[in-house]
Subunit: 401 residues, 2 copies
């Protein structure tokens, strides 16, 4: 079966993934994305105070989260976090070796590593992997690229949107890995995104930050936050559009397309959450402001009792109301309305009569919508999560050993 | 087998529990604690914005968390939360009916209810239960009292300490129910505590608030916070000591004994956490202040990845460091030291070499100590939690239905 193309669909990119022997499973573990020329680039990185060497490298080469990049090299199987000055030298060497192969400045090469925390990279294998990947770069290995960034992921996650800026066709394509340690701000998530639109680094960064808040940063699998999160957009400009200007119609179009891609990737992250059998969308409206809406939605999305109730198809709205009530958001039970799917289950301070069987059947579906109208203002935010199952425990009770 | 005595060991109290038919299991579900005369009383209640009718009643009769009480009536099987004005009338009627039986003012009767949210109490059964309990009050039914407040609890949790104030012997005894929806501030927890020490309501409240912060509010099972949490101390004064004065040697002695009882109950809550197989104590020292220490300890205690790693006896210190790093507390990896048991696993920004088998064996024990020295100041706080197992999911995926 031929692999689906995605990350190299925008013009000007090649990619591949190789088996370097870092993962005990023997699967692909070194991924390389390379542009034919320098690209506008923007990144958002983990805000965890403990962060990996690749994050330190990214902050050095893109000090304000933006600049020019030529390539993005990623390994899975080892996260290069808590590895001291030697770990930072390893990350630098990954960039330098990639740069030598592609004949560019090492400071144009972004690095990411994902996997267990606290082990040095097996640099012999990494070096050989980078060399092999540089040889194999192509527009026919998108599947290998994607598999090489995956860890506990069960599904390959990607999204592509083709649109137009004026008469010029452009494409935004994204991939993402991550299924545990997923919570804002950012997840154990590495999301390489490409586009052939022409856009400056500064404007690309503004767009990415805007979109990430509503997409990647609205997903939580387990409330834990990784030390290695990296979302990076590379814009080659090869589509030939006139460079997008701030505040223009073209910017709004580009923003919408980027949001569609990031939103699709975020949805796939929730759907592939460790042990997940359902995607749960918690839409809060009527909050005093957006910060309240986010706090309320995230409190429900992170509640193990809500997540286990959904797993059990149990219309236990009391747990939803509990999670809203414990949040930092202002909540007045008398003004609150809660719907599960289309069914109003709570209003005016108490539970409504409803057909439990209907709601239980609804909760057995693959997608569950929980809508909470706080009735206090205009603030709105939607969070995405998944149910909490025995499988989450099984996956996480013995990951390193 | 004779039941252990606890809640009626301090002089001046009687108690019992009866089967009123509220719980589908048919087990004891109405508990009554009565004092022979009015007691000094102090309560701490849930801070959830959504709270049950009994909480509203408690705030009305003890507006500053303290006052005089004669009795404490509790039902399990139904929480009387989100039941509107009718639910509040039900709580009032529970107090009034108990008061009529004991010949006292209804405003001297504290009420608590625990169980599923959103259902009206079956008042016919509750009334009959209160009448039967009032008939049966004794110092030989402490076990029935305790079983009547339990829901998903597997173990009966109680603690007794006998000490002296000057030459006068006094006793503090406590019981507690709760094993899920357990997190600060307060747990799904109902903790009736008695003492025969003589102490004013104001001083008793000061002592309880002080102690609760380090005991009940340091326990988290699942980060969820109940709508019904109630800790109540009733002090009969029947031991005959001179009333304890603020700041005195006797106050410090009383505080220490109260803390010993509350600490033992908090430990038992963690040990009986839903699905728990281990108690985990996270001691943070060296934080910039106590607020930072609490934030750091609670972040580790609430991390599902840490809790599953302990469940799997996996010495995955990376997850501990991740949870510290994502917390609101200031953390500098280079100054951080982490110990699992006696083994130093992390310092100077990276993992130490240690014998993984030794630490894994240690993690298989019933008690796990994780010590994190942030190296930044004098702030210290210890949190208690339990591991996260498949059983937690099994218990919570179908609780109402």
């Amino acid at each position: 079966m031929a692999d689906t193309r995605h990350i190299t669909l925008p013009k000007g990119f090649r990619a591949t993934g190789v088996k370097a022997g870092i993962k005990p499973s023997g699967r692909e573990d070194v991924a390389l994305l390379a542009a034919e020329a320098d690209c506008s680039a923007a990144v958002v990185l983990t805000s965890n105070q403990v962060f990996g060497a690749p994050i330190a490298w990214a902050r050095r080469i893109l000090p304000r989260g933006r600049g020019k990049l030529r390539a993005f090299v990623i390994n899975s199987g080892c996260s290069n976090v808590c590895t001291g000055p030697a770990g930072l030298r390893d990350a630098e060497e990954m960039a330098a070796r990639t740069a030598r192969r592609l004949v560019c400045d090492a400071r144009k090469v972004l690095v990411a590593s994902t996997g267990v925390i606290g082990h040095r990279l097996p640099m012999d294998k990494v070096r050989a992997g980078i060399d092999a990947a540089a040889e194999k770069l192509s527009t026919r290995h998108d599947g290998d690229f994607l598999r090489a960034i995956m860890t506990t992921d069960l599904r390959e996650k990607s999204a592509v949107v083709v649109s137009k800026l004026g008469r010029t066709k452009f494409t935004v394509a994204g991939t993402v890995k991550g299924s545990g340690m997923i919570a804002p701000s950012l997840a154990t998530m590495i999301a390489p995104i490409t586009t052939d639109a022409a856009v400056s680094p500064a404007l690309l960064h503004k767009a990415l930050k805007d979109v990430a808040g509503r997409t990647f940063n609205a997903v939580t699998v387990d409330s834990d936050q990784s030390t290695s999160d990296t979302v990076a957009v590379l814009a080659s400009g090869a589509s030939g559009n006139a460079s997008i200007r701030p505040g223009s119609k073209e910017y709004r179009k580009f923003l919408a397309v980027l949001e569609e891609v990031c939103g699709a990737l975020a949805y796939q992250l929730a759907a592939d959450g460790e042990g997940a059998t359902r995607v749960i969308r918690i839409a809060v409206t009527g909050a005093r402001g957006e910060a309240d809406a986010r706090a309320a939605a995230m409190s429900v999305a992170n509640s193990p009792l809500v997540k286990t109730a959904v797993h059990g198809s149990d219309p236990n709205w009391g747990r939803i109301v509990m999670a809203l009530g414990k949040s930092a958001a202002k909540v007045e039970p008398d003004k609150l309305k809660v719907r599960i799917g289309r069914t109003l289950v709570f209003s005016a301070g108490r539970g409504r009569k409803f057909d439990e069987k209907t709601v239980s059947t609804y909760l057995s579906g693959k997608e569950v919508d929980i809508a909470c109208d706080l009735g206090l203002g205009e603030g709105a935010f939607a969070a995405l999560t998944c149910d909490l199952s025995r499988e989450y425990i099984a996956i996480n009770a013995d990951y390193t050993t």
